[in-house]
Structures are given as C-alpha cells and as structure tokens.
C-alpha cells in the first residue's frame, strides 16, 4: 500500500495551493492507504516512523509539497528500519512541475495521482502533437534574443525579431566589459548584431511591440505594432546631418541619462539598423507643430516623414521565443542612499557608460555636473573623483524591495572596481558587500585577483549615505574587523539589481504563460525543462526567466532555439501541458501503471 505525507509550507502569500482539497483528493487515489500531514507523523523519530510504516503495511511513501525533498532523508531511514526499499520514498514536488498557486490545483492533483501510481508526471501529462508553422517570432533583441534568432536562422528557418527600442543590443550593448574575462562587451555583441542585421532569414522589426497573440500552439497569429520611426529605413543613408541641426534634446536612453541626445538620433554608433529615428516625446515638430529642420537639411527626398503614423501588421508563426530581459532597479526608491539627492551618487549602469570609451566622457570618470540649461549630466569639463564606494545588493536580498539575489551584481561590482583602478590608478575603491557570490567558472579566481589589486573589500551592508565636508560619508559596519566605518568618498556607485519588466505580467497574459511571485516567467520544469513553458510553442530565454549573466542568457537562447528547430524539423509540435484535463492525465497514468505491472 502507498502512504502519502503532505509537507505543508506556509509561504504566506494568498492564492497558495489549497492543501485541504489536495488532502481529500489524495485519499481517493487508487492504491493509496493512509494520508497524513507531516505534523501528524513522528517524522524525526526514525524508529517510531518505522513502526508506523510496519503497522500500516506501507510499501511506498509519497512525500508531497512545495519542497518535499527536505524531509526525504528521515523517511528513507525509517523505510530501511522497517525492512523496505529506501528507494520507495518518492517525491511529488508541486513547485517543480509548476503547480505554484491555487489556480493550478488540477495540475497539483495530476502530479499527485501520477506519483502515487509510480508514473512520472512528465510522461503521463505528455500532450498530443499538432502541425507547426515553420516561421518563428523572437520577442526582444537583447543578447538572448539575438542568439536564439541566429541559431534558428542559421538552420535555414525564417525568424521575425521584434525589438521595442530603435536598435538591437539590449542591456549588453551598454556594458563596457564582461566578467570575468574582461572582454569588451561591444566587441562581442556588435558583430552578432551585424550578422542578425544582414541575415537573409531574419526580419528585424525594431521600434515595434507585440500587441496581441491569438491561435494555438504551432499556429499563432501575432499582431505587431510598428511605431512610427518617422525616418524611412530603406532610404536613410545615415549621414547624420539631421542630428547635427536638430534643436531639441532629451536624456539619452543608451547612455542611461548620463548625457543628452537630439530628438532625431541614432541610439549609438554601432546600432542595428544603423539608421536614425525620431523620438516623438521630445521632437519640437511633434510637440508644437512647427520646426521641420531635419526635413529641410536631409539630402534624401522623402526620407523623413514627420507626420508618419504608427502601423500594425500581422504575422503567422509556429513558435514564439520570449526574451524580454529585465528592468534595472530604481535606486531612487531607497532614500537612505540619496540617489537623486546627491549628484555624486550614481548607479552601476551609469558608471558602465562613463567608463566606456564611446560614452559621454570618452571613457574617463568625471563628476556629475549641471550644464548651462541646468540638466545634470556628465561632461569632461568637471573634475575627477579620487575615491569611490561601491555598494552591493541595492534593491536585492532585501525584504523591503526584492527578496531575491540578482546574481550578477557581485561580479559586475568587482569588475567595475577593477575598471576604476584601470582608469585612475591612485583612486581608493571600497566595496561593501553582504556575501560575495562568485558562483561561476573563473569567478572565484576573478574575486581573488581583484582583491589583490588593492581594492578595499568590506563585509558589511552600507546603511546610509550622507553629505559631509562636501563629500559623501558612507556608514557601514566592518563585520570582519569589528569596526564601524564612516568612510568619506568622492563618488558612490550603487550596484542595482534586476527586476522583471513592468509589463511582464501583461505579456504573460497575452501569451497564456505564467509568472512567479516576483514576476519572472515560469519554466516548465526548473531542473529539466528550463526554457519551455506550459504553453506549446512558447519558450523563454534570458533574464526574463530569472536573473542571470551573459553566458547563461546566451546558453538559454541556444536552448530555446533547439526546441524550436526540433519542432520545425519534425513538422510537429506538442500542445500545451496546461490544457491537459485532469481526467486525461489520470487515465493515462492508469494505462502506464497497468502496462508497467504487466511487464514486471
């Protein structure tokens, strides 16, 4: 007989699985005897547990819950004492198969049913196959989307790559160097961007957004909004006269607001497509109805159309790869750090641009200062700081903001410390961390190397930043040295974490995929199916699935492409797991179970 033990975890959020319902469902599964909550059995007393197993004549025990693995060792011990096979303690992990909240209670039941009958859920819940359209849509033109597009296009399949901004590249294009190899980020990325731009199988739709998805796995109709670029991509020769003459300015998105750009602009010199566009929010003509300087100076007749309107198009695709990336944490939310109040408190992303040779200060670190019109920008005219504090975990690992670790900040902070030293040899650099998370290949070695470069690495979270003697005072506890540090520095760098995009939930709803509590997209199986979702034909790649660094995002891009190519080559695609009704899963599980008994 099989016994079921529920390990109920009260994770405190509403909408969690209804364990009472599962408990009663479990009692009705064929072959199941006693059903308990873990608090009802002597879990931690192996002898007592073994006695209970014997008394109930249990041959198998199913441990069910969000993270049931934690109690398994106690039960295997008890099974051995009771004279059974310890391998007959099996786990029904709801979380692993994506039954994370009560809307997915049927899936949780299905998981329970399959495991109780000794069938794996993935086997029984295998959906049927259907025909697939050969074209693929990739949403997001960052490194993950670029990688996925290239993999598929190089497999001779058609790809539509939709990007919201005016250029491909995403966040990686903004970075100066990568860690731990200190390669130039642009030197790796821009060739890939150019390859995408010239690839005959890739149709790039920049300055565009996905507005609606209908249809079913293998045959999706996608509505795409092409925002008015106001510059004709086909005829623009990229001469730049328009930008030179344009009178309106706005903060540069690409340079993270560290400098200003014109209203007609090219996001950055290596942009793909390497063509200009007009930002309607700052263009004098669009705002006030008169100007038109760019039209007058443009050497190509009819290239600039200031009255162009947004357009919509519809495409048919079989697969969709979601690679929408992240949003940097808004450092202004933490008042104690004074971002927005003290000009010399800057974010890590701003520093990336300062350090970059193509950035606003030609690769030198200067103070933030006001221009003639009062805008706070960085320019080569202001002085250079001599001391820096880099503060880790800004907005991450904090119950008040984001609980999770953003995973990349430790490493990029070390990288930034190194780059500061490279630019300003005599500068003092202090890093304040909670725990140093050097988790990848070569990362720990990188940490050691940076530590030996004369950077002061302090264990202790900075609590507040105040102005003192015209400098910034950073107050932290130096835990390893049992000291309180009030360090005065010239510039403070906040290592901001990663957050899901604000419209991630909207997109998830459009596609029918699910998101987690924090807002990242949910994968089909955390361990064994990290790029698929529960919706057939929709895969996820890159940071939109959870914080990760460049190598991991690239790997996921390739993995998602493999899934897509698999379906195209086969000509068939699996329908959505989420559409499998519980009865069908039960039926299949019984079939499998019977056939297995037949064999043995």
């Amino acid at each position: 007989m099989t016994g079921i033990i529920f390990t109920k975890v009260d994770n405190g959020y509403s909408g969690a699985l209804d364990y009472n319902e599962l408990f009663f469902y479990a009692k009705g599964i064929p072959g199941v005897g006693p059903v308990w909550y873990s608090t009802d059995v002597p879990l931690y007393d192996k002898q007592a547990m073994a006695d209970l197993i014997k008394e109930q004549q249990l041959k198998r025990i199913v441990v069910a819950g969000d993270t049931p693995g934690m109690v398994k060792p106690f039960l295997t011990g008890a099974m051995v004492i009771a004279g059974n096979n310890p391998e007959d303690v099996v786990l029904a992990s709801f979380r692993e198969y994506g039954a994370t909240d009560n809307t997915k209670i049927d899936r949780a039941k299905g998981i329970l049913f399959c495991i109780a009958l000794g069938v794996t859920f993935a086997e029984a819940a295998l959906p049927e196959e259907t025909d697939v359209q050969p074209d693929t849509l990739v949403i997001g033109g960052g490194i993950a989307g670029i990688q996925a597009s290239l993999e598929i296009a190089n497999g001779n399949q058609k790809v539509y790559l939709v990007e919201r901004t005016g250029t491909l590249g995403g966040h990686m294009a903004m970075f100066d160097k990568t860690f731990p190899t200190l390669d130039c980020a642009a030197c790796i990325l821009t060739p890939k961007m150019v390859e995408v731009g010239q690839h005959p199988n890739i149709e790039i739709l920049t300055y565009s957004e996905v507005k609606g998805v209908t249809g079913e796995p293998g045959n999706y109709k996608v509505k795409i909004l092409n925002k008015a670029r106001r510059v004709d991509l086909a005829t623009c020769i990229g001469c730049g006269i328009c930008t030179e003459k344009c009178p309106a300015k706005a903060p540069s998105e690409f340079d993270n607001g560290t400098t200003l750009r014109k209203a007609i602009y090219i996001p950055f010199p290596q942009a793909v497509p390497n063509k200009y566009l007009i930002d309607a929010d700052s263009c004098t003509y669009v705002l006030k109805g008169k100007c038109g300087v760019c039209v007058k100076v443009c050497p190509v007749e009819g290239c600039i159309d200031l009255d162009a309107k947004d357009q919509e198009m519809e495409i048919t695709v079989g697969n969709i790869i979601v690679a929408t990336g992240f949003k940097p944490f808004d450092a202004g939310k933490i008042e104690r750090f004074g971002y927005g109040k003290y000009p010399q408190v800057i974010t890590s992303l701003e520093l990336e641009r300062l350090i970059n040779a193509a950035g606003p200060t030609e690769g030198n670190i200067h103070f933030r200062s006001q221009d003639k019109k009062g805008n706070w920008i960085f320019s080569v005219e202001s002085g250079m700081p001599k001391s820096f504090a880099i503060i880790h975990c800004v907005g991450s690992r904090d119950e008040n903001y984001n609980k999770y670790c953003s995973r990349v900040c430790c490493m990029y902070s070390l990288k930034l410390a190194h780059l500061i030293k490279e630019k300003l040899e005599d500068a003092d650099v202090f890093e304040y961390y909670i725990d140093m998370r050097a988790f990848g290949k070569g990362y720990e070695e990188f940490y050691e190397r940076i530590e030996n470069e004369g950077i002061h690495i302090v264990r202790g979270r900075t609590a507040k930043i105040e102005e003192r003697n015209g400098r910034l005072m950073v107050r932290s506890e130096d835990i390893l040295n049992d000291q309180l540090i009030e360090q005065e520095v010239d510039m403070v760098v906040l290592s901001i974490g990663l957050e899901p995009r604000e419209d991630a939930a909207e997109l998830a709803e459009m596609l029918g995929i699910s998101t987690e509590e924090e807002g990242w997209f949910t994968e089909a199986n955390y361990n064994t199916d990290p790029v698929n979702t529960f919706v057939g034909g929709i895969t996820i790649a890159g940071v939109c699935q959870g914080p990760k660094d460049i190598p991991d995002a690239v790997a996921q891009g390739s993995a998602a492409a493999a899934r897509v190519l698999q379906s195209i080559v086969k000509g068939k695609i699996k329908k959505s797991i989420k559409d499998m009704p519980l009865e069908k899963i039960e039926e299949k599980a019984k079939q499998f179970s019977n056939s297995m008994e037949g064999k043995s």
Binding site: C393, E399, T462, Q483
Partner: protein, 350 residues
Amino acid sequence: MKEMSQYGMGTWNACFHCGNCTAVCSLTEEGILFPRKEIRALQMGLEDKLATSVEPWLCYYCGDCTETCPRDANPGELMMSVRRWLTAKYDWTGLAGLFYKSLSALIIAFVLVAIGIVAMGFVKDFNSEAVMYFGHILEFYLILTVFTIILIPNILRMFYFTVIKAKVNAPFGSYIAAIGNLITHMFTQVKTLKCDKQTVRWLEHFLLVMGYLGLLVITVFLDWFGTENQIIIYMGYITGGLVFVFTFLLMISRLSKARELNKYSQPTDWFFIIWLFLMGFTAFLVRLFIDIDLLNDHFWIYMVHLIVVSQWGMLLVPFGKWTHFLYRSFAVSFANLKKAALIKKLATAA
C-alpha cells in the same frame, strides 16, 4: 533563543549579518556596536556575552534598524527583549524573570497586594485618617526598602556583570566623569535626541518623567493629601495631570502602532503604562475629592489609589520596566568607562 522569545517577539534567526542595523543606528560609535553583535551572541547562545553587554541599554528604540532590516529580523525588538532579559538577570530575587515570563504569576502578585491593602483597611475599620496615615508611612518605607534591598544590590550586580566580569579596565579619572553624566542622563535622557526624528518623543518622555518625579516628591515627602499649603496643592495637580495626560497619549500610540517601537507590546508594558496612568489619575481624584469635601463619603477612591501605589511600588518598580530608569542611566556611565578603557588600551598599544 527559546528563553529570549519569552521576553519579546523575535524573528532573529532570520538575520544574515549584513550589519545594516549597526550602521543605520545614530547611537553606535567606535567600540559601541549594536544590535547586530547582540543578535550574533543570541544566535550562538553566548549567554555570558549578552549578560555582560551594556549596549542594549544604550538603544532608545527609534525603530530605524527594524524598518530598514533587509531580513525583517526585527533587531529593535531584540534590543527591547534583551533589556527585559537583563532586568531579570540583574535581579537577585529572580522575581523579575518570573513576572516577565509568567503573566499569571504577575496577576497573582497583583491580587495578593490588593488583598493585603484591603485587609489593612478592614483592620483599621476604614477610618480615613488612620488609613491615610498608614498609607503615607507605607509609601515612605516602601521606597526605602525597595532601594536598599532590591535596587541598589541589583545596580551593583549590573556593575559586576558589565564592568568587572566584562573586564573593562578603565582609568580612575573616568569613574569620576562617569558619575557626572549619570546624573544628567537620569533626569534628561538627552541621548535620545541623537536619534533621528525623536524630538517629540523625547519631550513627551521628559515631561512624563518630570511629572512622575514631581508627583513622587509631592505626595511622599511634601504630604500632598495632608498639606494646607496652596502652592504644594497646585504643584500636585500639575504633576498628577502631567502623568496621566502623557500616559494616556502613550497608550494611544501603543494602540495605533504608528511608530515602529509601538508595534509589539508585552503585557508588562501595558501594566507599566496603565498603572502609571492610574497612579496619576487616582492621586488627582483623591486630592480633588479632599478639596471639594467628598472624600469621607467616597473613601474607596483613596483605597484604590493606595492599592495602585502599593502594586506599583512593590511589584512594578523593583521587578519591572521602571528599573530602566536606573539601568539606562548607569549604562551610559558604564559605556563611558568602556570607551575610556578602549582609549587607554589603544594608547598603550601605540
């Protein structure tokens, strides 16, 4: 850990030692680091380390650490709980610990005191003059006894724990300076002003302390209920009024939980504040009844007052939250000794 949770609301195991609480605190300085180190000591079960630390008394619970704690580990409440635990630790009778941990023991003690007072009234036939005379003498001796038998030995124990056992080796001169700031802090609590945005709270607390001390002097040493002196009578009204108005305000803020420090109230906190209120209020009424000549018909009001005062003096003052008045002030002095010792040590090292 288990024991400490009987003294307050704790989620201290959540702490991952980032040091935010220590650094965000306006009162920490070189050599005086809290609350993270106390959490560490608690997590590791270093009872001696906690018992010999003077730091918990230096915290005035502004709530900054708890508000900004990235783990919701509530360090501010930990400091409050450690203060309760230390109060029990310093108390040689063990009653303080018993009353903190067991609400029923505290209630039984309150009932016993009340019965004693009523019995005394019964013996004296509820004759107003005799009872009031007795009450006056009782207050007088109560103060004397509590000080000599309970509080002074407990302060010495505190000195033993935090200075001698903690091996603080301070130069002789610093002891004399320490006495000076003992007096200032006992009556002004000026250190609270170093905390951010605590001025209003400090003023409330200061006026309450002044009211309380004034009322004590006026009723016990100037015989408010017996005097004919108009100035003393008015002073009594003012101080009595101060006490019950400000305790009333404190009760409201504890109920509304607007401030971080008011979010978790122990039963003993409520006893302290309600009894303080009742003391001020009943004293006010007794004198009012004397002035409008109603006391002989409503003598019960004096009986209530005497019960409240006795419960206060016999239970809450020696074994409860009242002791923070002494421990906090002495802690400032002992902390200064510690600092002086640190400076001396650094000087010899150099």
